[in-house]
Symmetry: C2
Subunit: 433 residues, 2 copies
């Protein structure tokens, strides 16, 4: 059959929609396979933009120890980039809890050698895109491609097309909390607080965290119910609020900056999105936040997006780039894991709201380690006792495709960490191949 012959000779074209972290990593993977890659991004090119607009939450990239880093090579551009980025991250070996009276108490992450990395999102993005040749702007044009990869984030335009089709399961859940970012400048040319910590001010129904940046600033993020944000309407009220709850942060951020920056942007919403399937025939596939936006309380959001790319790449190998089979398999394999991560993030959020500070951090400590399934079950049971209403046994991801459940049996509790390790090894192996 001649047409097939012709087609297989031609370079396949993939349109990656979204030039964020997941889009950029995908672009690298597809380029490595010999696809012609086109990256579409509606925002300004992050590599040339002076100020990065939109969301810029600092990311805590977790990985399980520096084993992989030793295998660092210079063969593959993807892994190279990744290793380079990780080496530029600021390791945080512990959390630093700030109590209302200003006292600081470190809580390590568990075993020796475990840490999370504070990586600037904009910087990471720039790095990943540096391997890419194609950046188109958001202008309307007709394109003809073999595959569309939707990596366009929590409010994905590609996913909207899925929503127009029948039998697409979908849920979006906004939480009552919003977030606001504030910058803590350097002090005498150095970090204003100890840099190798994730600083946390837990205050029951709200909290502030601070992550270190390479420029010696901290990005402080205040998480609070929208109704509380809205109660504060003047600069003096901002100061009063901080005086009561985050007094030690006022001189470090600066009273004047605080009064001004609080009103710079309104608090931003956080949404948890689940859907299924992730693909349409052999034509289109969703990855990253476009497929599964999670609330940022489990620290796996970005990892999950990266994992999407890695898993997809593995399936491409497994099924010899036969897109019809590959996309279906990707949905089959990936939906349960991504839904589990979304659930765990929401679970942590509920825990955080429902419990006193210390318990939440105890809990987070547990989840950071390789929690086994039976421990996970114990945790649900514990929740059963604590959250006083609205609790009932519920069920069956199998029946509903999982998209309806808040919590489902998470056989993935192990997998969450294992896959990060696997991803890491995979990236490094690409680098040395």
């Amino acid at each position: 059959m001649e047409p097939t012959q012709v087609k297989s000779d031609k370079k396949k074209v993939v349109a990656v929609v979204g030039g964020g972290l997941v889009g950029a990593l995908n672009a690298c993977f597809f380029a490595k396979r010999g696809f012609e890659v086109q990256v579409y991004e509606s925002r300004e090119d992050i590599r040339t933009a002076k100020v990065v607009k939109g969301r810029s939450i600092n990311l805590a990239l977790s990985h399980r120890g520096p084993d992989g880093a030793e295998a660092r090579g210079d063969g593959g551009e993807v892994a190279c980039l990744f290793v380079q980025i990780v080496s530029q991250g600021i390791p945080m070996h512990a959390r630093m809890i700030h109590s209302p009276d200003g006292k600081q108490s470190p809580i390590p992450y568990g075993k020796k050698g475990q840490f999370i990395l504070s990586v600037d999102r904009a910087n990471l993005n720039k790095q990943l895109l540096s391997g890419e040749k194609y950046i188109a702007d958001g202008a309307k044009e007709h394109i003809s491609v073999d595959l569309i990869v939707g990596c366009d984030g929590a409010f994905s335009a590609i996913r909207k097309q899925f929503l127009r089709r029948s039998r697409f399961n979908y849920s979006q859940t906004y939480i009552p909390h919003g977030y606001m970012e504030l910058t803590m400048p350097p002090r005498d040319g150095d970090f204003a607080m100890k840099p190798h910590y994730l600083h946390i001010w837990p205050r029951n129904t709200f909290m502030m965290i601070a992550l270190p940046n390479l420029d010696k600033t901290f990005t402080c993020t205040l998480f609070m119910p929208f109704e509380e944000f809205e109660k504060i309407t003047t600069g003096d009220e901002v100061l009063e609020f901080f005086q009561k709850y985050f007094a030690d942060a006022i001189p470090l951020i600066g009273a004047d900056s605080l009064k001004r920056d609080y009103f710079r942007l309104p608090a931003q919403a956080m949404v948890s999105v689940k859907c299924s399937p992730y693909h349409i025939a052999d034509k289109c596939v969703l990855m990253g936040d476009a497929a599964h936006a999670v609330v940022p309380f489990y620290g796996q959001g970005m990892n999950a997006g990266f994992e999407d790319c890695v898993v997809f790449d593995e399936i491409m190998d497994q099924f010899n780039e036969d897109l019809g089979v590959v996309l279906e398999e990707y949905t089959r394999v990936r939906v349960p894991d991504d839904h589990a991560i979304a659930d765990l993030a929401m679970y942590n959020y509920i825990e955080m709201r429902a419990h006193v500070n210390s318990k939440w951090f105890l809990f987070r400590k547990v989840t950071f380690t390789r929690t086994r399934y039976h421990q996970a079950v114990k945790r649900w049971q514990w929740q059963d006792k604590v959250i006083n209403r609205g609790l009932l046994v519920c069920g069956t991801g199998a029946v509903l495709g999982g998209s309806y459940l808040l919590f489902k049996n998470p056989p993935n509790m192990d997998k969450v960490n294992l896959d990060v390790e696997k991803m890491w090894n995979r990236l490094v192996s690409l680098g040395t191949s």
Copy 2:
């Protein structure tokens, strides 16, 4: 303040979007309040259309005994219509179970005097719309109104506007089953089967039901997983399938009709939709399937939609038609009840799939009565033992606004039935006032 004066003198205008059951009832309620009512419907006027396209599942309207009917009056057009419709419904006092060998066994609905009504949807719709003066077609035009009421069904265009806004919680879940309608004609001028029964052919993972119509036909509805529908591709395969599972229905439907009608339309999808809030400021509100499409396995879908109208009308009285307050209160009151009904319907669907026939019907019998909360809990626990995977304690409608949960604490188990009674009384009182 003159402008206010002017406004309050002017007749308020409400645009009811959707001329289905809920839209028509709403139109009656608003007209009764002295609003100028405009009903918008994109489909052909059901009162003049010869064939009603789209979904036409027969509806089983449940109500708790004929007490209300005695109070039938001629004062209010709304209740009058309602009473008239109910009096034209065909009461079904029991289910009639058809076993594979053709044996029929009746199972009453419980206490004496309890029954459900088989009401033809198209007929009910015509009746309700007969009170209305305004029907516009789907042509584009700019309208200026005081309130938009979205009653435009499970795939609501009004709800799509809600989806474009931030902090709107939404979920749509398609079930693996589809449905297909087949008509069983009269036999020698009379019903082909006993008319005062809901006929059911339970076959584990699929089932057929049949409801009587006034023209002495039965509407048979086959519920089956899509993948099973798709396996049958020829007329002979249809007959073979019916021979195996619904042999007694073949001569009643007619072998030739069966072979033809099976392929007339593809099997239709069923979706469960939950969202929150139901309103935008004082301008727009969702009711009926637009707010909460449910899978048709609990028999409360239409009742829930009617209840929306009744509850809204009560709140209008309570807050003196102050739309800003009314709409907010409607969301607050109505979301938990509607979510509970969606959950219960999905629960019944899961039960139906998971259990052998007899257990499901036993279960349905329980839910038809005024099941108390502690019994509901027992039921969840029972489910815990039966459904083998994917089961975990989950939680808290309070935290998530409920839109994420499959099952939540249903304090509404009582309310479901009580509200039907309340609604009934309310409608009758309108009729006699």
